[in-house]
């Protein structure tokens, strides 16, 4: 427990000094608030959709980068070697890093919920889904960190992955094939669920506008919250399995 706490406190001390990471926690909610304030004046639905899009991008990118960078940095500068020699077990190291990442991710999620005006039962759904996504993203980040010898290599691995996770759900609005990919990745299901929470099923099913004309839904068919939770959990399990393979192959020795 000493080691987990020590790693957690180390992360806490490092967080405000690691500007590139700390900024992501502030930047996404702030940009979401600014953009939604402008867009929401004319079209509240579009404003809320933008907030959910930023929430999805945050969940897909930030915990992943934080975990991957943290492990790669400790590998590159041999800090991990000293931790292991001091008796820190790999599982303690990872729990310390991951618990900090997950706890820190709560604050931006709360901010997104507030900006998007989510409350009551929807708030619980939003936070549950968001935290499950943060878990999946963190584990995937740990896998990438394990495979990276240094921070540069780490960025080269996570950049394309991150782009798929962040842009595919958004691009689902424009292309059916992309939408099919979106239904099996955790960020896709998180995005669709968040849209369902703030806009409702008409975002998928379509609706009649004020002139009585039928308007198609902006996103592919949504299979419901339970299916979304199942996909996010399946993604998390897949990443955990990948992590076990990566850990057996690469280990955490510094």
């Amino acid at each position: 427990m000493n080691a987990v706490k020590a790693i957690f406190v180390k992360q806490l001390n490092d967080f405000p000094k690691n500007m590139s990471i700390a900024l992501m926690f502030i930047m996404y909610p702030v940009i979401a608030w600014v953009v939604s304030s402008f867009m929401g004046q004319e079209d509240p639905e579009a404003g809320n959709m933008i907030v959910m899009q930023f929430a999805m991008i945050f969940v897909g990118m930030t915990p992943l980068i934080m975990m991957a960078n943290g492990i790669a940095e400790d590998n590159e500068y041999k800090s991990l070697r000293f931790l292991v020699t001091a008796g820190v077990k790999p599982v303690q190291y990872l729990v310390g890093l991951m618990s900090f990442t997950i706890i820190m991710s709560v604050l931006p999620l709360l901010a997104f919920a507030w900006i998007g005006g989510i409350s009551g039962g929807q708030f619980a759904q939003f936070m549950g889904l968001g935290m499950l996504g943060v878990l999946a993203s963190s584990v995937l980040g740990a896998v990438i960190g394990l495979f990276s010898k240094n921070v540069q290599q780490c960025a080269a691995i996570y950049s394309p992955i991150m782009m798929v996770l962040s842009f595919v759900p958004f691009l689902s609005m424009f292309n059916d094939t992309v939408a099919r990919v979106g239904t099996v990745i955790f960020t896709g299901q998180i995005f669709y669920s968040l849209i369902e929470i703030v806009i409702g099923s008409e975002a998928f099913e379509g609706r009649y506008n004020e002139y009585g004309e039928w308007v198609e839904g902006i996103l592919p068919m949504y299979s419901g919250m339970n299916f979304a939770l199942l996909v996010v959990a399946a993604n998390a399990l897949l990443f955990i399995a990948l992590f076990v393979v990566a850990y057996r192959k690469r280990g955490l020795r510094g």
Binding site: N2, A3, K5, A6, I7, V9, K10, N13, D14, K17, N18, Y77, K78, S79, L80, R81, F82, L83, V84, T85, A86, G87, V88, R253, G254
Partner: protein
């Protein structure tokens, strides 16, 4: 007691350690001498559990938790302050945080306690790495070139600190290519050349054995005689 017996290590086809055997008694300062690339760091890495030997046996006589490690790559957290770096290890070792200021004082870094590591000079980083290594008063201390890059005054201070640790019962295992350091500091030394031990014993004894003890023991001359190589790196 730290020992290696017939240790072999290969990196691919290259044999970097070939039948290496020595022992360092409890409570002594043991020096491993050799030029760059001789295999000194590989030996430390094997003893400190960072690398696996391909053959032979070795032991450090204690749990890795009771060792202190100072390597060329210091592994310090660059954005954190000196105190925060040591606090991390104090928490891991379960030693009181008050030990942190004592360790910083011992290496002369009290005034730099709040400075982030990335603002320290190379010599200061090295001293901080030493402070981390001695924080929990380890039974065995591995020091890889502990005074390289340090000014003479700081090096003397570090020598005193190493002797103090030895006097308090720690076994100090250090590598160096500074012959004077080895003669002045070490109880026993092993001369390492291309992955093999070519001499082993007390510095003065070794020099006498090879007729290189004129007014002071001259390990450099012994090494040259045995290997035909110069030990000290010449930087132009």
């Amino acid at each position: 007691m730290i020992y290696m017996k017939g240790v072999v290590k290969r990196f691919g086809e290259k044999v970097v350690l070939n039948d290496v055997s020595f022992e360092a008694k409890d409570g002594e300062i043991f020096g491993l001498l050799g030029p760059s690339g001789a295999g000194k760091t590989t030996i430390i890495n094997i003893l400190a559990g960072q690398l696996q030997a391909d053959g032979g046996s070795h032991d450090i006589g204690t749990n890795l938790m009771h060792t202190g490690l100072m390597l060329e790559q210091d592994g310090l957290y660059a954005r954190l302050s000196c105190t925060e770096n040591l606090n991390l290890f104090a928490r891991i070792y379960g030693v009181p945080l008050s030990k942190v200021s004592q360790s910083l004082e011992a290496v002369g870094l009290t005034e730099a306690a709040k400075k982030p590591v990335n603002k320290l000079s190379k010599g200061m980083r090295q001293r901080l790495a030493l402070a981390r290594a001695i924080l929990h008063e380890p039974k065995v201390l591995f020091l890889d070139e502990p005074t390289a890059n340090l000014d003479p005054n700081t090096a003397i201070g570090i020598h005193k600190l190493i002797r103090d640790l030895r006097d308090r019962g720690s076994t100090v295992f250090l590598t160096t290519h500074n012959m004077d350091e080895a003669v002045n500091l070490c109880n026993n030394v092993a001369l390492l050349h291309r992955g093999a031990i070519v001499e082993y014993g007390q510095p003065a004894e070794i020099c006498e054995r090879h007729d290189s003890f004129k007014t002071v023991p001259d390990l450099e001359a012994v090494f040259l005689k045995l290997t035909g190589d110069v030990m000290t790196e010449v930087k132009l």
